[in-house]
Amino acid sequence: MTTTLALQIGWGTTLALKTVIVLAIIPLGALVLGYVFLLKMMSHMQSRLGPMDPGGFHGWFQLVGDGMKFLQKEDIMPEQADKRVFATAPAVVVISTFLVFLVIPMGPDLVVKDLDVGVFYALAVSSLSVIGVLMAGWASANKYALLGALRAAGQLIAYELPLLLAVTGVVVQANTMSLQGIVYAQQDGSIFGWSGVGNPFILTQFVGFLLFVVAAQAELTQTPFDMPVAESELVAGYMVEYTGFRFLFFFIGEFGTATAFAALAATLFLGGWSLPWVHGDAANWLGPIVLFVKLMFVAFLMFWARFTYPRLREDQLQALAWKVLIPIGLVNLLVTGVFKVAF
C-alpha cells in the first residue's frame, strides 16, 4: 500500500501519518474554500471592496489578517453559560468533520480506511455535528443562540433525508457503499458500450446530484438556507456568544464540512480521484489533484448559490425539504431501481 513512496513503513506509522494528514486537510480545506470563495469570489460577485484591499494584489493578505484578529481576541464566556458544554460544543462539530474525511479516497491507495459501508458511515458521522450545534446554542444562555440552534436542528434533520435518498440512488447503481468501490464503478463503467471516459454517475444520477448539492447546502446552513445564523433576525444564531479561537473552530468546522461534502459529491457523482486513462501509480500521484479540481467545481456551484440567492423563510425551508426534495428523491430511487432490475 506504500508502493508509491517506494518505502515500507509499519502499520502504526502509517496510521499516525494518515491521521496527521487528515487533521491538516480540514483547516487547509477550510482556508482554501474561505479564501477562494468567501473572500475573492464573493467580492467579485457583490462588488465588495474591503477583502480586495489588504496587502496590495487582490487583497491576498486578508486571510492572514483575519487569522491574526481571531487569535488576538479575548476568549469571552457568558456568565450564565454552562461552561463545560459551551467549551466542548465547537470540538464536537470539528470532530464530526474529521470523521467524515477518514473514508474519502484520494487515490487507489490514498485513503485512511476504505470502509465497506463508507458513504453510509460518512453521512452517519456528519449528523453528529447537530449535537454540537444544539450544545452551543443551549449552553450560551442566550435566546438568539437557542433559537438558532433549534432552527439548525430542525433543518439538519429535514435535509438529512433527501441527502440519504440522493446517495441511495448512487449506491443502487454502483452496487456498493464503499466510496472506493463507487469510484471504481464509475471508472470501469461505460456509456452505451463506450468505455472511453468511464461512466460518471452525474450522467445517470443527475437528479440525485442536484438533490445532493441542494441538501448539502442546507446541511451546511449556507444561504439560501442560513436561517440558523440569519444575522438580521438572530444576530448570529448559535454562534452569537462565541469569540476568538472558539469562533474560529466553528468557522473551520463549517468550511471543513463544506470541503467534505464537496469531496463526497465529487466522489459520488464525478468519479472522485479517477481520471480517464490514468491507472496504477500515476493515479496515486494525480488522484489528490483530480479530486481537488472536482471538489472545487462542486464547491463553486454551492458558493455561487450562496452569494446569489436571498434567504428562504423558515416554513418555506421545511416545505421545500418535505414536499419537494423528498418526493423527488423517492421517485429517483424508484426509477433507478427499475433500471437496475431491467438492465
Binding site: 450564565q80 453559560a81 454552562d82 458544554v85 470502509l115 465497506d116 459501508v117 453510509f120 458511515y121 453521512l123 452517519a124 458521522v125 449528523s127 453528529l128 447537530v130 449535537i131 444544539l134 450544545m135 446554542g137 443551549w138 444562555a141 437557542l146 440552534a149 433549534l150 436542528a153 430542525g154 439538519l156 434533520i157 438529512e160 457503499m177
Partner: protein, 168 residues
C-alpha cells in the same frame, strides 16, 4: 484478543458511568448529553463485535436523530440553565428496582443458557456476517414479513402523530 478485552472494559466503564449520569443528573439537557455517550459506547461495542453496519445505524438513528429530537423537545419546552427546579423524580424506586432486577435476571439466565461458555472467534466469516450486504439480504429474505410489519407500524404511528398534531 487482549486488545479487545481492554477496549471492551474502557467502553463498558465509560458507558456505565454515563448511564448513572443520565439518571443522576439534575439537569435534563445534561442527562440527554450523557445519553449520547451511552449510545456511542454501544455503537463502539457493536464495532468490537464486528457488526459494523449495525454500529453506524446506531450512530445515525440514535445519536443523529433520536437524541437530537430529545434535545429539540427539551429545548422547545424548557431548557433550564441551572439544575431543574421541577420535580425530576417520580418516586417509583421500588417498582423500578424490581423491574431492573427482573430484567437483569432474565437476560443473565437466557444469555448463559444460550451461549454458556462459547467464545467469539473473530474470523473473516464473522466480518462478512456483519457487513451491510449480509444484514440486508437477511432482512429482505428471511425476515421480510416482520420487517414489513414494523414498517406498517411506524407508518401508522406517523399518521397518528400527524392526526394528533393537526389543529383543524
Amino acid at each position: 484478543m487482549w486488545a479487545q478485552q481492554v477496549a471492551f472494559w474502557i467502553i463498558a466503564v465509560a458507558m456505565g458511568l454515563s448511564a448513572i449520569g443520565v439518571v443522576r443528573s439534575r439537569n435534563v439537557v445534561h442527562a440527554a448529553l450523557f445519553l449520547v455517550v451511552v449510545l456511542a459506547g454501544s455503537a463502539a461495542i457493536y464495532i468490537l463485535l464486528l457488526a459494523e453496519f449495525v454500529a453506524w445505524v446506531q450512530v445515525l438513528v440514535y445519536i443523529g436523530a433520536i437524541v437530537v429530537l430529545f434535545l429539540f423537545g427539551i429545548m422547545l419546552t424548557r431548557a433550564p440553565m441551572r439544575d431543574d427546579a421541577g420535580k425530576l423524580d417520580n418516586d417509583q424506586r421500588l417498582a423500578s428496582g424490581v423491574v431492573s432486577l427482573f430484567l437483569f435476571g432474565v437476560l443473565t439466565v437466557f444469555l448463559i443458557d444460550a451461549f454458556s461458555d462459547q467464545k467469539i472467534r473473530f474470523t473473516d466469516s464473522l466480518v462478512a456476517q456483519g457487513s451491510a450486504r449480509a444484514v440486508g439480504s437477511d432482512i429482505f429474505h428471511q425476515y421480510v414479513i416482520p420487517f414489513e410489519v414494523v414498517s406498517m407500524l411506524l407508518l401508522a404511528a406517523l399518521v397518528g402523530a400527524v392526526v394528533l398534531a393537526r389543529r383543524d
